[in-house]
Symmetry: D2
Subunit: 277 residues, 4 copies
Amino acid sequence: LSSAIRSGKVRAPTHVVSTICDDRGEEPTYAGVNMTTLFERDYGVGDVLALLWWKRSLPAYCTKFIEMCVMLCADHGPCVSGAHNTIVAARAGKDLVSCLTSGLLTVGPRFGGAVDDAARCFKAARDANLSPHLFVESMKKKGLRVPGIGHRIKSRDNRDSRVLLLQQYARAHFPQVRYLDYAVAVEDYTLSKAANLVLNVDGCIGALFLDLLASCAMFQAHEIDEIVDIGYLNGLFVLARSIGLIGHTFDQKRLKQPLYRHPWEDVLYTKATCIMQ
Amino acid sequence: LSSAIRSGKVRAPTHVVSTICDDRGEEPTYAGVNMTTLFERDYGVGDVLALLWWKRSLPAYCTKFIEMCVMLCADHGPCVSGAHNTIVAARAGKDLVSCLTSGLLTVGPRFGGAVDDAARCFKAARDANLSPHLFVESMKKKGLRVPGIGHRIKSRDNRDSRVLLLQQYARAHFPQVRYLDYAVAVEDYTLSKAANLVLNVDGCIGALFLDLLASCAMFQAHEIDEIVDIGYLNGLFVLARSIGLIGHTFDQKRLKQPLYRHPWEDVLYTKATCIMQ
Amino acid sequence: LSSAIRSGKVRAPTHVVSTICDDRGEEPTYAGVNMTTLFERDYGVGDVLALLWWKRSLPAYCTKFIEMCVMLCADHGPCVSGAHNTIVAARAGKDLVSCLTSGLLTVGPRFGGAVDDAARCFKAARDANLSPHLFVESMKKKGLRVPGIGHRIKSRDNRDSRVLLLQQYARAHFPQVRYLDYAVAVEDYTLSKAANLVLNVDGCIGALFLDLLASCAMFQAHEIDEIVDIGYLNGLFVLARSIGLIGHTFDQKRLKQPLYRHPWEDVLYTKATCIMQ
Amino acid sequence: LSSAIRSGKVRAPTHVVSTICDDRGEEPTYAGVNMTTLFERDYGVGDVLALLWWKRSLPAYCTKFIEMCVMLCADHGPCVSGAHNTIVAARAGKDLVSCLTSGLLTVGPRFGGAVDDAARCFKAARDANLSPHLFVESMKKKGLRVPGIGHRIKSRDNRDSRVLLLQQYARAHFPQVRYLDYAVAVEDYTLSKAANLVLNVDGCIGALFLDLLASCAMFQAHEIDEIVDIGYLNGLFVLARSIGLIGHTFDQKRLKQPLYRHPWEDVLYTKATCIMQ
Ligand SMILES: CC(C)(COP(=O)(O)OP(=O)(O)OC[C@H]1O[C@@H](n2cnc3c(N)ncnc32)[C@H](O)[C@@H]1OP(=O)(O)O)[C@@H](O)C(=O)NCCC(=O)NCCS
Ligand SMILES: CC(C)(COP(=O)(O)OP(=O)(O)OC[C@H]1O[C@@H](n2cnc3c(N)ncnc32)[C@H](O)[C@@H]1OP(=O)(O)O)[C@@H](O)C(=O)NCCC(=O)NCCS
Ligand SMILES: CC(C)(COP(=O)(O)OP(=O)(O)OC[C@H]1O[C@@H](n2cnc3c(N)ncnc32)[C@H](O)[C@@H]1OP(=O)(O)O)[C@@H](O)C(=O)NCCC(=O)NCCS
Ligand SMILES: CC(C)(COP(=O)(O)OP(=O)(O)OC[C@H]1O[C@@H](n2cnc3c(N)ncnc32)[C@H](O)[C@@H]1OP(=O)(O)O)[C@@H](O)C(=O)NCCC(=O)NCCS
């Protein structure tokens, strides 16, 4: 039977549909591009990512920008949730995959998740022709903070170098940066409220990613909506930070660190008296 | 210094707050109840769960009901998402924890998640004195299905024995079952539309859990809201199904099953031609 | 075609084999036992576990012992690796399943994994008629610690109540406890070396579980070997501790704890100067 | 107190040690290299990986080779364990991180794990001056297959293009390729046994990675041992395949695929009759 199916005589309905990579032929292809072509065209990691995530070959300035984001988000020290949980798992003697996933599972709304939110907000606001002033105030009225704005340490006179590097690159290479311009106009307004309400790295990536999608002329409007809606930037952060989390795992194993136990003194045990029936 | 802290001379602010279990004394306590007391009172798994999740000791008919839910949800065969991913991981030669977690990570809105939704909907509708008719029609107007209603195979004349067993138990032991009664009234109405729109096991657990919380007189109204809001029933499903997922892992290891590869014939590879710039 | 397969006319080779639970009939069955029977026989959580893990119905003293282990291992405070990572994930705003799995992924050789090791060692030693003295000294010669022996706080004159409770139960209800007796003889010998080398809770569960398997007369020798080899006791720990980890997740959500960031002051950043080519 | 600690007046012992990334200053540094330097030197993803995993800046031919491996291992279709579990989780409606980790948790001895094994075996054999013939036969005597050798479809006359591309690159750019030469000599010998016992992509990466470590003159012998021992190549595979797994998640979400249920017809339910006491 299964050879009958394979020979095409009998047609079974399939249970899975997949479109990004075909592994049935002589060599696997990414969105139809085979491995030999990949190297002949001198493609890099950013190009492979574009082929597998969007099934298209993006201009070099785009894939280079994607690689810059991966590099800048690769790690942010051992203290953040993701690195911390990975370190704890590594010190429990677990294998690499367990350490990595234990850390990745903390990525979400409060850690690493602001980039998509920033993209969504900036897109909605600018596409609706909301003035920065109106946008910020309407968020405030809803009791929400503007995602991508604000930093605990950085401020007007002490900018985050990552934000500067990304802006500089985009202004030099992107055909246009209208979402970045909008985000900067929002920053101008919020800076008039407090010196630390700068455009942060999440906000900058979010805005520039919108510019990338809009300016490369390879996505239709409904495709951009879908990308922003599904939240592809979260994928970029997760991939980037995996480099760091794997690095922390190796680091702890090299250092032969023992089992971590959080210190008792650092825990407030509130009086837990069981409520009896 | 840290001995100074421990001796109580210096007071450091703590970074963690925890209330369910104290492990600092002679023996760990669950919500203040120590291990010896646990056995002296002939407590069971359901009681431990109640102590750790709600920090209270619930009447026996409640903890017995919780155990019934754990038993009924412990497994549902190898074909559902969770068991399937666990089986695939086990056949890739992974350790028990990796197999279990690979499966658990499929639990969510479409698999195992309907219980909390059912509880939320039945609670909101009944507390607002919405007639079953109005409730169902208002859901329809919003384009939503009533969670906890409907089954692919079961119907009016072929009820799910799990639903019958739970109802029977609750009617015999709970002081009152007003949310169940409401759910059954909803079912009466939906059955008039189609024979398969029965109250399913998720809906039945959701409704009866509301009755448990309301009738044991050990929770204040705002506590019940919080429990329903946070989604404790998902925890019950996850815990229960872990028994099955661990069982499937052992099963595959015992059977020495080889690496699973999904059959090529079962995949529809859509033409992926790379869009070129 | 697929209806032809279903009707039995065509026989396709299957890609999956499964033996613990059948979900095809009127109601799912666990090892052939249906839900109605489960309640008619007044089965509990321990019985369901036995059906799904071993496909047999064990005597009541066995399933009660299993439930005791689940209860005693359900939690051990917020400071251990598992609870800690779960708490960090919960404070990052993640869903229940992510919090639970982030914590579970720390379970392994150094956290929760000693029970199976203890069972393996005690079984090998006693089955080979090694005297406790020879067993301990041969481990020492190999540079290994005896798993299941030793405690940081407990000692000869300050026993762990969990160990006492388990022993008491087993001596009262098990037909025989020869592996426990062996473990206690080992403890006698190690206590002559240092007062804190007591039989700990992992060692006690490991030894008694061997007694359960050997004395209930429902497992053949090769089945017992397989169970000890695969490491079923790890499953027991993982299932039990899930109750606690789920509890910690709810606890942090109830407490509305903010994102956890490990304090900078608690990290030793060693001089990392990049080695240049 | 904590400000006293921060000001350096009081010195608390730290509970965590970390060496790869410092996030305390103006901008995070990777092994001491700050973000601005990263871009001034025109570094890429491979350089960041080298900084975070080995705390050194490797020659360009090395980081380019690392990027080639990432590109070649980025995906291998929807049928392998990892992609399959990711797809199942995506179809259960789960978030990106859950989908990615559900798939990653299948990476291990049978899926993606052969690279490190191949490196370990080739290194041990060549460093011990074992002739290919003796190496293969000694493995056979131990009942083991040579990792990195053998392919289900490829053979002497139908080589894997990925293996050819990697070899070609290394022979053109590496100072020496003695481990690759050794692996090819092993392949010569195994090909004399059967036409499909070719050097596969895992074996090729494993051997060439040893050549990279040995020939760049930036690692001491004991450091190379440690790297091979800890298993860094697994990290390379995991990072690379994450691109594909994230891609599969987006693919399924774009395709709005419904909940996956494995077909009943594809499961062999063996007669499970409960063994009764
Ligand atoms: C970074 C951050 C926590 C700094 O906060 P902070 O300096 O401690 O600010 P406070 O919470 O004390 O707020 C000070 C004022 O600034 C306002 N504010 C802070 N962040 C704001 C934002 N993003 N948008 C608008 N207003 C903001 C506050 O509402 C407050 O106004 P008020 O005094 O009128 O009530 C905050 O800006 C923020 O949450 N930003 C968005 C987060 C983001 O993008 N995170 C990425 C994480 S991956
Ligand atoms: C189980 C289920 C899929 C069965 O669906 P089905 O018999 O294939 O039904 P269909 O999708 O063909 O729908 C048939 C009609 O019943 C209606 N219907 C189905 N489920 C309904 C529900 N839960 N509430 C209200 N109406 C429902 C449909 O809207 C449709 O009405 P229409 O013909 O006027 O458009 C469906 O009832 C359901 O999704 N129920 C809720 C799921 C739930 O609790 N799941 C637990 C999973 S863990
Ligand atoms: C609990 C434990 C860490 C306590 O260790 P400790 O009191 O700090 O003991 P030390 O490491 O200082 O060792 C003191 C001596 O006791 C010996 N010792 C400690 N544990 C031993 C054991 N399990 N078996 C044999 N000897 C042991 C040490 O070898 C050492 O002997 P030496 O002085 O001749 O070298 C240790 O006993 C242990 O690792 N036990 C096994 C762990 C186990 O079952 N863990 C369950 C975790 S889930
Ligand atoms: C790929 C592979 C499964 C192909 O196997 P196959 O063609 O089905 O081969 P068979 O299992 O039928 O074995 C045929 C003969 O080749 C031998 N053989 C197969 N692979 C071998 C290897 N890697 N080294 C040495 N001998 C091998 C078998 O022992 C057998 O010899 P015998 O007839 O004397 O018993 C097998 O070569 C293999 O397991 N290779 C290593 C796997 C590896 O690197 N995997 C990477 C996965 S990520």
